[in-house]
């Protein structure tokens, strides 16, 4: 069931009414409803993977209790939990990649093998819910969280339907207490949720899905197009993936608000970043902070020798790239970001822009800020070419072709409007990613609601693409 499908709208309305009208008095029943609906939501893709989800949830729930109760074997249980999650992830997501690459490596040495490749269907959202489970056990191990005895509460934390298939990757310390506490209806929270949903749908259905047509066309025919059009294609993809993923996240955050939950932020206007370090504080925050807390810091973080800091940074970026999928393109994408990040880290500029918002008290950015944002956007866009290309060879070829006819007037210019519109609206609301479309003037606010809502309706007839991050 896709967020941008008619079935989901019906599903959401039904669950919403049951939740607030039929079961609002009993927290336990409300949680059972959320769990049942989340499993129904997930089962729409492939009901067989419900068993995998249930098994994974049961195992992490069990390991959580074991880690908490056992002093002596605490570490062993933690490692068993990690091994179990990575094994599930590795089998479904990376088996063929590793076997195929091993075969290629052996072939280079003259050893021809016929390995056993499997026709594996990747369960939707596996990378997200296994990370939920792992963070739960990690947090218990680190003493940040006390395990819950109520399996339903834990299962809701893992499989709450707004975040089940593409995040944000939640932390038990943040979401679990909300599952365990009685939710009360709040008009303000609901309105804020609906605004997020509207803005999310606009980003996905109008912006991302429209740009995807241009992007697919440009990437499929890059050999015959001018360099300037290829630059436009890469820029379009930058906005497409932002609209797609940030759109999804906004819908997830908004839907969660409708049920009285506050999820973690995942995007803070990343294309207004002034360097790559700031970009990573604003892009897919729940994943980057997950890797920071559970990989980078345990490896020593930045409190070790310079060589080790560089090593740790490379590890975190490469793993982050690989998390996206079993393809060298994602590893290359992560590698490029590591190369862009390390100079900032070594020159102590990685924390330069972490708290304040660009042009905080002014309407427009200064020339210097404009240059910084443009340069960061250009670097991120360059890296996105690897992310989008089917293989590294094509990405390199695409970049080489940019040199041919770079000064020509580009074709496919119609998409530029779909780049400008979200950036302009985002600029206006850049101070708070959770309070979107909150214009003071009622006329402007309702004008935006109506304009965006109508646009979403109209475009929804033509654009019903799946979300990019569902494959991860």
């Amino acid at each position: 069931m896709l967020f941008n499908s008619f079935e989901f709208v019906l599903f959401l309305i039904t669950v919403y009414f049951l939740y607030w009208f039929a079961f609002s008095k009993n927290l336990a029943v409300q949680n059972i409803l959320l769990l049942a609906c989340s499993y129904l939501f997930y089962g729409f893709w492939d009901w067989r993977f419900l068993f995998l989800l249930l098994l994974s949830t049961l195992i992490d729930y069990g390991f959580g209790l074991l880690v908490y109760r056992s002093e002596r074997r605490k570490k062993l249980y933690l490692w068993l939990s990690i091994f179990n999650n990575l094994a599930v992830l590795g089998f479904f997501k990376y088996y063929n990649f590793f076997v195929g690459n091993a075969q290629d490596a052996l072939a280079l040495m003259g050893l021809h093998t016929d390995p056993w490749l499997l026709n594996i269907v990747l369960p939707v959202g596996i990378s997200f819910y296994t990370f939920h489970g792992m963070s739960y056990v990690f947090d218990i191990y680190n003493g940040k969280v006390t395990p819950t005895r109520n399996f339903v509460d834990y299962a809701v934390f893992v499989s709450f339907f707004p975040l089940l298939v593409a995040g944000p990757i939640e932390r038990a310390s943040h979401l679990l207490p909300q599952v365990q506490k009685k939710r009360t209806f709040s008009f303000e929270q609901t309105v804020a949720g609906m605004r997020l949903i509207l803005w999310g749908y606009f980003l996905k259905v109008v912006i991302a899905d429209t740009l995807s047509v241009f992007v697919n066309d440009i990437f499929a025919n890059y050999k015959t197009l001018s360099g300037s059009t290829l630059v436009l294609g890469a820029v379009y993809f930058s906005i497409q993936i932002y609209g797609d993923f940030c759109g999804y996240t906004n819908i997830a955050l908004g839907v969660a608000k409708l049920f009285g939950f506050e999820l973690l932020s995942n995007f803070r206007y990343p294309y207004f970043s002034r360097n790559i370090a700031e970009f990573w504080k604003r892009w897919h925050i729940s994943l980057s902070s997950w890797f920071r807390d559970y990989l980078y810091i345990p490896l020593g973080g930045s409190r070790v020798s310079t060589a080790k800091v560089v090593r740790n940074t490379f590890i975190i970026f490469l793993v982050s790239g690989f998390w996206h999928g079993a393809n060298w393109t994602f590893i290359a994408w992560g590698g490029i970001h590591a190369l862009l990040f390390i100079p900032l880290l070594l020159s102590n500029n990685n924390r330069k822009f972490t708290s304040e918002v660009v042009a905080d008290n002014t309407l427009l950015p200064s020339l210097r800020e404009t240059w910084q944002m443009t340069a960061t956007f250009a670097l991120a866009t360059f890296a996105w070419i690897f992310f989008r290309a089917p293989d590294v060879g094509v990405a390199v070829d695409y970049i080489q072709h940019i040199g041919h006819g770079l000064l020509q007037m580009p074709t496919k210019r119609l998409g530029i409007a779909y780049v400008i519109i979200p950036l302009v609206i985002d600029w206006r609301q850049r101070h708070d990613e959770r309070t979107v479309l909150n214009y003071r003037n009622r006329l402007v606010r309702w004008g935006m609601y109506v304009a965006l809502g109508t646009a979403v309706l109209v475009y929804s007839v033509y654009n019903q693409g799946t979300f990019i991050y569902f494959q991860f």
Binding site: W20, F187, W446, G453, L457, V461
Partner: protein, 301 residues
């Protein structure tokens, strides 16, 4: 919660009003006079569905214009003629496609519910459709009608702006019809299954699609009332294409339209390479058939 519902209803009402306003304005603009004008020398109008749209290339016939369109039911042809005939008084003959599939209930599914045809047609002809037509379509294909209406602004706005600015908009851009290039090749293996299916249906195919046929009557009456001649035409079909209702079809024509001439090219001997499938010509077939049709069209001058 009450406050939320109130606001939500207000929002839904505003969006609906905007849609209604848009659709009304769009219909008014598209129903303007002179939008359906064809060249003054075109005196013979070809109408119909995919059989005519794929089968007859009108560019070599100076007095003939093909405004048929794939999956255009007689309803849509009738609506178009209501606009075309008054705006083009030089037209003295309407040639309209008529074959077995046009009268069989068996094919109504294809026209109404399959392949998104209804969605596309609602988008093409929304400004011409009456409330009764719309309810018939809504009853048979609700999702496609809703999608069609909801998606209209994206499709039509560029042309509406052109019309308002008095810039030229062709009938082709308005999706009124025209020769449709089709270069598929006949795949007998694929089509054999269709043949078996069509033959298997047997007597079920004899049921007439009366709603559709009513519009054919309306077309003939409309033409008569304006002193325009009507001719039925049937394009070539492959010899393997099943014709289990041929005798009934002939009886139907004699019974219901005894006064309408029928130009039947069904048995025209064409090689397999001329067919896209068993009952549609491809571009090569259309080239060959159009030469023959041009001779026939000369008699209609």
């Amino acid at each position: 919660m009450k406050q939320l519902f109130k606001k939500f209803l207000l929002y839904a009402a505003i969006v609906s009003a905007i849609y209604w306003g848009y659709l009304t304005t769009m219909s008014a603009i598209l129903n303007r006079d002179n939008l359906y004008k064809v060249d003054a020398q075109k005196t013979v109008l070809l109408m119909g569905d995919s059989h005519i749209a794929y089968g007859i290339i009108d560019s070599n016939m100076e007095h003939v214009v093909n405004l048929s369109q794939p999956a255009d039911m007689y309803l849509y042809n009738y609506l178009k003629l209501q606009k075309l005939l008054p705006q083009n008084p030089q037209i003295h003959t309407v040639v309209i496609g008529c074959a077995g599939h046009n009268i069989q209930q068996f094919w109504s599914d294809v026209f109404l519910t399959k392949q998104g045809f209804t969605q596309a047609k609602v988008q093409n002809y929304y400004h011409l459709l009456s409330a009764a037509d719309m309810s018939y379509l809504l009853y048979h294909s609700p999702e496609q009608v809703i999608k069609g209406v909801v998606g209209l602004p994206k499709l039509k706005t560029p042309y509406l702006l052109k019309i308002v600015r008095h810039q030229p908009v062709t009938l082709e851009q308005l999706k009124i019809g025209g020769y449709a290039f089709h270069d598929d090749k006949l795949d007998l293996n694929k089509n054999r299954a269709d043949v078996e299916k069509l033959n298997r249906k047997g007597t079920d195919q004899l049921a007439l699609w009366t709603w559709h046929i009513d519009y054919l009557h309306k077309i003939v009456d409309l033409c008569k009332s304006r002193g325009v001649n009507v001719v039925f035409v049937r394009t070539p079909e492959h010899k393997l294409f099943p014709k289990p209702i041929e005798p009934e079809f002939q009886k139907f024509l004699t019974r219901e339209f005894p006064e309408v001439p029928f130009a039947d090219f069904i048995k025209m001997d064409l090689p397999d390479s001329c067919f896209a499938d068993l009952d549609h010509l491809n571009y090569y077939g259309a080239k060959v058939f159009s030469d023959s049709f041009a001779h026939f069209a000369e008699t209609l001058r």
